[in-house]
């Protein structure tokens, strides 16, 4: 299972990577915004994307839209982990085809639950 973690803050990427490792996912890569993430996704055979929303360059919601428009990436499971908590934003993310939405600050248990749910549904 190859996972890409996208967040502009290196500390948050590190926290998520640590939590993922604790859940048994050791094959993780990092990107600091959508612009760096998208080419990595297009060439990297990733199985799962965890992304922040608010980032300089390309935001997480734009990245999600690009992923859904890309023929090869459109089925990639995407988990949004973000401080963005406006209802309109959550609805927009759902409409753009997000698979899970976790708001910061979050707990290890919530992250685990959402990831498990995504893969349960994906079969």
């Amino acid at each position: 299972m190859k996972i890409l973690v996208v967040d502009d803050f290196s500390t948050m990427r590190r926290i998520i990577k640590n939590l993922l490792r604790d859940l048994g996912f050791t094959n993780t890569s990092e990107a600091d915004d959508g612009n760096t993430a998208l080419p990595m996704l297009q060439s990297g055979n990733f199985d799962f994307l965890v992304t922040d929303w608010n980032m300089p360059g390309m935001t997480g919601i734009e990245l999600l839209k690009h992923v859904r428009e890309d023929e090869r990436l459109k089925d990639l499971p995407v988990l949004m982990v973000t401080a963005e908590a406006k209802r309109d934003q959550i609805v927009a993310a759902a409409q753009a085809g997000v698979n899970g939405y976790v708001i910061k600050p979050f707990t290890a248990a919530v992250l685990k639950e959402k990831i498990e749910k995504i893969f349960e549904r994906a079969g």
Binding site: T11, N54, T82, A85, K86, R87, D88, A92
Partner: protein
Amino acid sequence: MTTLELESPGNEFEKLFSEKAKDLMARLEKNDLAGAVGLIQELQKVRDENLYQEIGQLTRALHESIKKFKLDSSVQGAGSDIDEANDGLAYVVDMTAKAANKTMDKVEDSLPLSQGIAAESNEIHQQWKRFLNKELNPTEFRELCKHISTFLKSTESNTQKLNQNLNDILLAQDFQDLTGQVIQKVTTMVTDVESRLVNLVSMAGHVDQLTGIQHGEINVEHEEADLNKGVGPQVHADEEEDVASNQDDVDDLLSSLGF
């Protein structure tokens, strides 16, 4: 902060104005035209004096504020209070990042130690249970003794290392005190700037009153936050209706959308 005197001669001027207005009417009724013109000139003089005084005060307050916040330096980034606040906040970002990284370094260093202790004690426990059930042969027993001996020795140094790491994690939280002080300083500065601005506006209001200037509707465009760009954490999530205040809210909203 020095609070600027807002006591304005405006009120006195108003009082004088209405008194003189009555006087003026009385004189006009008595056909005392020269007296009436004299009164108007007197009023004009008081108004002018008041106006100069108000403008003088406004200018002084403006100068004081500029000096107070050291905004008079011609080059941006040359030590004004705003620059200092910016530097302070950059320091907060830096300190918190350092503390977070140090804490994670220590946690990443500690996890294998505690995992190792757990795994080894589990192994010894299994053998120990077999020993109590008299299932161990003498060779296995000797091995168990050796295992216990090395385990105790390594646990001593491993727990020492763990204690050291926990202490380091504790100390890494000292940023809270320092960043708290910086943020409080910035908050005080921002509040100070705000009250001075309000003060200046109110002083300018007196000038407007005396000159009879009306500005009409002043339109300041409020920038609508672009939700697509992201608006950052919601500080008052509990109080706002269009905001999910916790993960349960998010889950409820998503499930209402058929998630």
